[in-house]
């Protein structure tokens, strides 16, 4: 019987604590920060928390359509594979900060990868 990483990290409170670090990494990174200009930061962080919960195997489901719809406006602003790579990089960094083992970080990366095509509208 396997707990999800989400459970082992401590569930929702752990996601709440982790998302601030994750969001700070994104905002401070020039490669992706432009996509976060002029957004409502509180709403944006709520979305980041949902994404983090999802990739840690928590109780969040995205349909492919959800991901496509949410990111479609960003495609016209140049969203590409490089940006998705940056997100996955920062997910890994956030989890490393939480002391998560590399094997589990790889699992998370795989879950994040699974939405790449939908995010990029392919």
């Amino acid at each position: 019987m396997s707990d999800t990483l989400f459970d082992r990290l401590g569930g929702e409170p752990a996601m709440q604590a982790a998302v601030e670090g994750f969001y700070r990494r994104m905002l401070a990174d020039d490669r992706v920060s432009e996509f976060f200009d002029d957004v409502d930061m509180d709403r944006q962080m709520a979305k980041q928390k949902a994404f983090l919960t999802f990739v840690c195997g928590g109780p969040v489901r995205y349909t492919g359509l959800d991901m496509r719809t949410a990111h479609a406006p960003l495609l016209s602003r140049g969203l590409n594979d490089g940006h998705v790579d940056v997100v996955i990089e920062h997910l890994a960094g956030t989890l490393r900060d939480l002391g998560v083992a590399e094997a589990h970080i790889a699992e998370v990366g795989a879950l994040a990868e699974s939405v790449r095509a939908d995010v990029l509208g392919r």
Binding site: E12, Q16, E20, Y23, R24, L27, A28, D38, M41, D42, R43, M45, A46, K47, K49, A50, V60, R61, D66
Partner: protein, 325 residues
């Protein structure tokens, strides 16, 4: 079965049905997107919403009854609060004083006392319908409502309030509205307040509210303006620092030569950030020009201030009748 009461009408919910699903089923328009508690599109207000429907919301929003309709499965009738249907009160303009070349202070006496929390705002409607929003600078105990009005180039309301309106004129107020206020409960927490221009108005209320209710952690109030001659309330703010030893008052202007030795010339975010320590413990209040408020919010967050502890009130200029100013 529990129901949702909205605008005097009751909508029955099915067992286990969320407020969002129920209202939509009844044909009531409610914004939504993710339907899973993440996107905040379905944010509503009610009296005593269930706690689990407030997951992730900051303390001030929770206290004011905000909740996520998609997460809300009430066990008893839930009464929604509709801001659009807020009380209207007649109020008389009882005094006007020039505070700075582009700022006047108005005092109003409402027909009935307004039940507000310092930091909230009202919308002021002239008898011909012209309406603008202004933050309250006063405290409920003061008995009058204080507004700081900036002269907006080409602005109809500000021209009227600065140049034309006579003392004794009546207007209609709606509200109070807004969630930028001092929530009680952590009196030793460092507070950081920054008001740009008339952004000082709500902070003048908030800072006194905090201090008068026993906040004894370090409180730093930054006042910012374009130039030193636009700074106002120096005497009032100094008098506050004399009264409250834990209050520090700092001023910053973008340009100019400081006639006052305590005024720092520079970019507010740079100046403020250079001064910070222990960011993770801070609660911040940022009010005024939207660009600067947003920039400050981002910089403070990046410096380590928790996002839920940053209360921002951006004064968005009006482009339509009842918009924040």
């Amino acid at each position: 079965m529990a129901g949702v009461v909205r605008g005097g009408q009751r909508y029955e919910l099915r067992g286990g049905e969320s407020v969002l699903d129920g209202l939509i089923r009844h044909g009531v328009p409610v914004s939504s997107s993710c339907r899973a508690g993440h996107c905040r599109s379905c944010l509503l207000r009610a009296e005593n919403p269930p706690e689990e429907a407030q997951s992730g919301l900051k303390q001030t929003l929770r206290e004011r009854g905000h909740f996520l309709a998609c997460l809300c499965v009430p066990t008893a009738d839930l009464i929604l609060i509709d801001d659009d249907a807020s009380l209207h009160t007649r109020a008389e303009i009882i005094a006007r004083r020039v505070l700075a070349p582009d700022i006047v202070r108005l005092w109003l006496r409402p027909e009935q006392p307004l039940d507000f929390v310092p930091g909230q705002f009202v919308t002021l409607q002239r008898d011909d319908g012209l309406t603008r929003s202004y933050s309250l600078a006063s405290l409920p105990r003061e008995g009058w409502l204080e507004l700081h009005i900036r002269r907006v180039a080409g602005g109809q309301m500000s021209r009227w309030l600065h140049d034309e309106v006579e003392i004794g004129t009546e207007v209609t107020l709606a509200g109070p509205f807004g969630d930028c206020y001092y929530a009680r409960g952590r009196p030793t927490q460092p507070l950081l307040l920054a008001g740009v221009g008339t952004g000082l108005a709500p902070l003048y209320g908030i800072v006194r509210d905090a201090l008068e209710h026993g906040h004894d952690g370090p409180v730093t109030l930054w006042q910012a303006a374009l130039r030193p001659d636009r700074l106002y309330y120096e005497e009032e703010l100094r008098s506050l620092t004399s009264r409250w030893p834990n209050l520090t008052y700092r001023a910053c202007t973008r340009e100019g030569h400081a006639a006052r030795p305590d005024v720092v010339i520079g970019s507010l975010p740079e100046v403020m950030l250079g001064d910070l320590s222990d960011c993770a413990a801070i609660r911040a209040f940022l009010c005024g020009d939207p660009t600067l408020v947003h920039q400050l919010k981002k910089r403070l967050f990046l410096a380590g201030v928790p996002l839920g502890e940053i209360h921002a009130d951006a004064f968005v200029p009006s482009s339509s009748p009842a918009t924040r100013q």
